[in-house]
Point group: C2
Chain length 116, copies 2
DNA sequence: TATACATATGACATATCCATCATATGAAGA
DNA sequence: TCTTCATATGATGGATATGTCATATGTATA
């Protein structure tokens, strides 16, 4: 299989790559749950893991792309690392999604199967 | 490996699922390129395929989730199917991404490798 | 320094995603 | 109906992503 990402689409290269990484990082249930947990307030890795009932290692793995793409910030505090949401991006982003869901995803968040 | 999507995260179920599907569909270079092509105006499948230099079958496959999630609309016109962007969602969405990229992705759309 | 706590990293198995090929459906005109 | 054009669908191999386990790094305190 050819790597599609190597192909030159008729799309501004930067925007294309940024969007793809942007959405790919967000398109994962663990990372989305992590994000929403952090919307309640800053937490360290252990607290996130406890809140979600997941392993610390898994949360740590998933935090990396979130931090790299600046969806969340990190701050060292002693031996802890406190993560917090980048509200400047995440808040308006979730607003767009929610608005879309209200208009187009009537059955409890599932996309419509049939076209109209 | 357990299916994480089956687990109950501490997240509103609907929002979690909607977001995941939403971003998963968008996190793909072919679908993003398709979306951007359609931003220039409505096109049928053949035109999209030609514009992107990709096979008709591939475009058709990738259009399906875009339509299902209502990122694009379809309209029958004779034997063609004309696809167009849902500007209500896509425009504000891309604005958020662009704004984020301007602030946090200095090196041509690539996310930063190091945390700050 | 030794220990404990907090977090990150590496390797690996597998589940998921995706482009491709072949084929089917559908619509319009001869 | 037969042919042609436009599009969709199904199957499949293979790349990618992801969770898990084991382990390493790092930080503070005794």
């Amino acid at each position: 299989m050819k790597k599609t990402s190597d192909k030159v689409f008729n799309m501004k290269k930067g925007l294309s790559e940024t969007c793809n990484r942007f959405f790919t990082v967000l398109g994962n249930p663990t990372r989305l749950a992590t994000l929403e947990t952090l919307l309640d307030g800053p937490k360290n890795v252990t607290q996130i893991a406890e809140t979600l009932g997941q392993e610390q290692s898994m949360i740590s793995h998933n935090l990396r792309p979130l931090v790299e793409c600046r969806f969340v910030y990190v701050e060292r505090r002693g031996k802890e690392r406190v993560y917090s949401v980048n509200h400047g991006t995440v808040d308006p982003l979730l607003k767009v999604v929610e608005n879309h869901a209200v208009n187009y995803c009537p059955s409890g968040g599932r996309c419509l199967a049939r076209e109209g």
